[in-house]
Structures are given as C-alpha cells and as structure tokens.
Amino acid sequence: MVLLGGAVGAVARFGVNWLVVRGSRPSPWATFTVNVVGSLLLGLLAGVGTALPGWVGTLVGTGFCGALTTYSTFGYETVRLAGTGPVGRGWALLNIVATLAVGLGVAALGWQLGRSF
C-alpha cells in the first residue's frame, strides 16, 4: 500500500513540476502547490480518522500524501533562492512563510472538514 501510494504520489509531484516549469513559472511554485494539496488531503484523512479503513490511511495518507509532498525539495529550493542575492533572499523568506502558514492552515482546515463527516 505504501509502495503503491508512494509511486503514484512521486509521479504526481513530478507531473505538477513539469506543468509548472512548462508554464514558465519557477519550480518552487510547484513544490508549494504539492505541499499545500497534500497537507489538505492528509489533514482531511486525519480528521475522518478511524471511520476510514486502515488501508486507506496507509495507501492515501502515508503513501500518496507523504510522497506527493516533500521537505527536501522545499529546503533545497529555499537555500538556492537565498543564494541568489537580496531579491532571492526575499523570495526564500516568502517561500518559507507561505509554505509553513498555508500548509499548516490547510492541514487544520482539512482536519475540521474531516471531523464533520
């Protein structure tokens, strides 16, 4: 279940990155998007909790959401942005604040939505 969800999640993240870069937007937009979508979905699953069969949590939560989202690319892109001068440092800071604030916000929102099921 983890293997399958992880494979699909990684390919989905790769696909989002391809679409974003092809649309001439820099790669951190893709990483921000997958991290926000994955956090919302995992929050939702955690909110629904034990009402779901265990395999759904393993397949979609641990596998898909875990692999769709990434901390390594977020960290690497932030360090790279910060290394490109004062404007880059501004973008790096914005990337950090936006990813953490929106990611945590949608995880909480997803949890609340999941609870109400």
């Binding site: 983890v2 293997l3 399958l4 969800g5 992880g6 494979a7 699909v8 999640g9 990684a10 390919v11 993240r13 790769f14 990155n17 391809w18 870069v21 092809r22 790669s27 991290n35 994955g38 956090s39 979905l41 995992l42 929050g43 955690a46 393993t58 641990t62 596998g63 959401c65 875990g66 692999a67 769709l68 989202t69 990434t70 901390y71 390594s72 690319t73 977020f74 960290g75 690497y76 932030t78 360090v79 950090i96 990813t99 953490l100 990611g103 945590l104 949608v106 995880a107 909480a108 949890w111």
Partner: protein, 159 residues
C-alpha cells in the same frame, strides 16, 4: 521591403536559429517526460516512501509526543538532497536518470511536508503549543542547515 526577411529561405535556416538555444536548467523537464524517467520516479518514490514508513514503525510517537521519526526523515533527506544535487549538477557526465530516481523519486518520497503539517496541528490540538512551535521551526532551521551541510560535503568530496 526585403522579401527574404518575410519568408524563410530554405535549408540553411535551421542552422541559424533566431535565438541561441539555452541549455536546459538542471532539473527542469524539457519537452514531454520520457516513460523511463516516469518509471524511475515511481520506483524511487515507492522505495523512499517505504523507508519513511519503516522509520515511523520503528520510532512511533503519541499524538502529543515529539515526532522524532519525521524529523529524522526530513533532516537526513535534506542533507542528502544538498549532497546529491551539488554532485549531480557539477558532474557533466551524470546519467540522465540519476536525478529523477534519487532526488525526485527517493528523496521526494522519503521526506514529507504533509505529515509535518498534520503533526504540528496535532501538537497544537493536544495543547502543546511550545512543542508545536519547536517542531515547526526546529524542522525548518534543521532542514536548511542540513541542505547547506550536504552542499558543503559535496564540495569537500569534489575538491
């Protein structure tokens, strides 16, 4: 008006393109991704996710406890991405599937943002705001330091 400007003039045109061909940026997919790239991303993602799951099973934590497994996963993944990306981007002969497999697939599948966000929410909901803030910012600071450490190590290896 010069008619030769208005119309392309035969076979010599492709040799003199209007714009210089920019080299592809590292990691930027150009054109439609090939099936073998997608396959190694999937394989790497599956293996990386299995590794993350293994650590979670070996190192479980309560919902109001500190998520050490996810912290360890994310920090080690960040050190490795710094190391590997610096080695790959400074190595012109790196095989084209190395980055999709190891970086996009394995490290992307191994590290996670969603679990980190949901665990931080759980700590806040469990009335542990200090621990939640420590986890939120500690992972961030540690991750950025780990990336730099990985890059530094790669430079040491190459020199």
């Amino acid at each position: 008006m010069n008619p030769s400007r208005a119309r392309p003039t035969g076979p010599s045109e492709p040799d003199t393109p209007d714009e210089p061909v920019a080299p592809p940026r590292p990691g930027a997919p150009v054109g439609r991704p090939r099936w073998d790239v997608i396959a190694v991303v999937a394989l790497g993602g599956a293996l990386g996710s299995a590794g993350r799951y293994g650590l979670l099973v070996l190192w479980p934590h309560a919902s109001d406890g500190f998520p050490w497994a996810t912290l360890g996963t994310n920090l080690s993944g960040c050190a490795l991405i710094g190391l590997l990306m610096r080695l790959i981007t400074t190595h012109p002969a790196a095989h084209r599937l190395v980055q999709p497999f190891f970086v996009t697939g394995m490290l992307g599948g191994f590290t996670t943002f969603s679990t980190y966000a949901v665990e931080t929410r759980s700590l806040l909901a469990a009335d542990r705001p200090g621990l939640a803030l420590g986890y939120l910012l500690g992972t961030l600071a540690g991750a950025l330091a780990a990336v730099r450490l990985g890059i530094w190590a790669a430079e040491r290896i190459r020199s």
